[in-house]
């Protein structure tokens, strides 16, 4: 025998369960029913950011926004800190993914203009970790990180991508200024400048 009070409690409980289930289902549907976005016009920053936001709940949203599938990325190697570097081609860009969640893409035009690099800096301490990754021109077979003075540091090159682990320069340290890539014949290709400003501050 169920008392009237218990029936009311039971009904309220069942309604709550149904409501919660429907809410979770609706949230899940919103997260999974997104259609692939239309290609974004280069230079339309607002649209580019919106395209990335569409995938913000998934891994490597920037890569997905570029029309590439992160799961299809092929491993190129590891950096000195044990991170796996992978690459995959998107609609109009080559994308590079690192196992710490970093990713970036570069179009052929950006590669041609020397604007195909990504730099990560740990600015929480002096001389924190710095990783420089770059998509190289197709003819490049080697690359070197050049500092203002002295010899450069060789970069690891694989699959058209070069990377190097270094330290964020502190005041007075030598600062990397460009990446110098060479083709199979040893000829120097146009330099890829490193703009600096590693640890922007107020």
């Amino acid at each position: 025998m169920i008392h009237l009070h218990d029936k009311v409690v039971l009904r309220v409980g069942l309604v709550a369960v149904v409501a919660a289930t429907a809410g979770v289902a609706a949230a899940a549907a919103m997260a999974t029913s997104q259609a692939p976005p239309a290609p974004v016009r280069p230079g339309d920053a607002r649209a580019q950011l919106d395209a990335i936001k569409r995938y913000a709940e998934q891994s490597d949203p920037l890569v997905r926004a570029a029309g590439a599938d992160p799961a299809a990325a092929r491993p190129l190697g590891r950096d000195d800190r044990g991170m796996t570097i992978r690459a995959v081609d998107g609609r109009a860009a080559r994308c590079v993914l690192t196992s710490d969640g970093t990713s970036f893409c570069a179009t052929p035009e950006q590669v041609r203009r020397g604007q195909s690099l990504h730099i990560r800096n740990d600015c929480s301490r002096p001389r924190g970790d710095m990783r420089i990754t770059v998509v190289l021109p197709a003819s490049a077979v080697s690359a070197q990180l050049a500092y203002g003075v002295g010899a450069g540091a060789p970069m690891t090159v694989a699959g058209g991508v070069a990377w190097i682990d270094a330290r964020t320069p502190a005041a007075g340290d030598a600062t990397p200024v460009e990446i110098r890539a060479r083709d199979r014949g040893g000829r120097l290709l146009p330099a890829i400048p490193i703009p600096g400003g590693f640890c922007p501050a107020d």
Binding site: I2, L14, A20, L49, G101, F104, I119, R120, N121, C123
Partner: protein
Amino acid sequence: MWITSVNAHPRRRRARAVASLATVAVLSFVSAAYAFYDEDYGGSTVSAGGGYVESSGAHAFVFNSTAIANSGYLACQLLTKSGTYNLVDHGYGQCTQNATPDDYKWARGYNQSGSTTVVYGYAKTN
């Protein structure tokens, strides 16, 4: 009375158990929904060579993304203002970065290009 008595009728205990579970489910869903926070920030003109846009506050951000209108060099940054956490990623056109939710961090986007332009930012928690 929500405390189940050992002497209560089995159906009554079942009804109370169902209601309790439902309450927990609803509260969990509601609290999860409220815990999530995301924010579009910036969208304003930023001076060349280091001007920045910033989130309206510090949150347990795990994702930050920025885009620059002139496709130039930019940076995205997640930082605590005490400096204990300060991760900066640089690139051309757009930038994304991930972080753990351990700290309440500010999200920023820097114009590191050579001309004044608009920088957009988006950051979110888990």
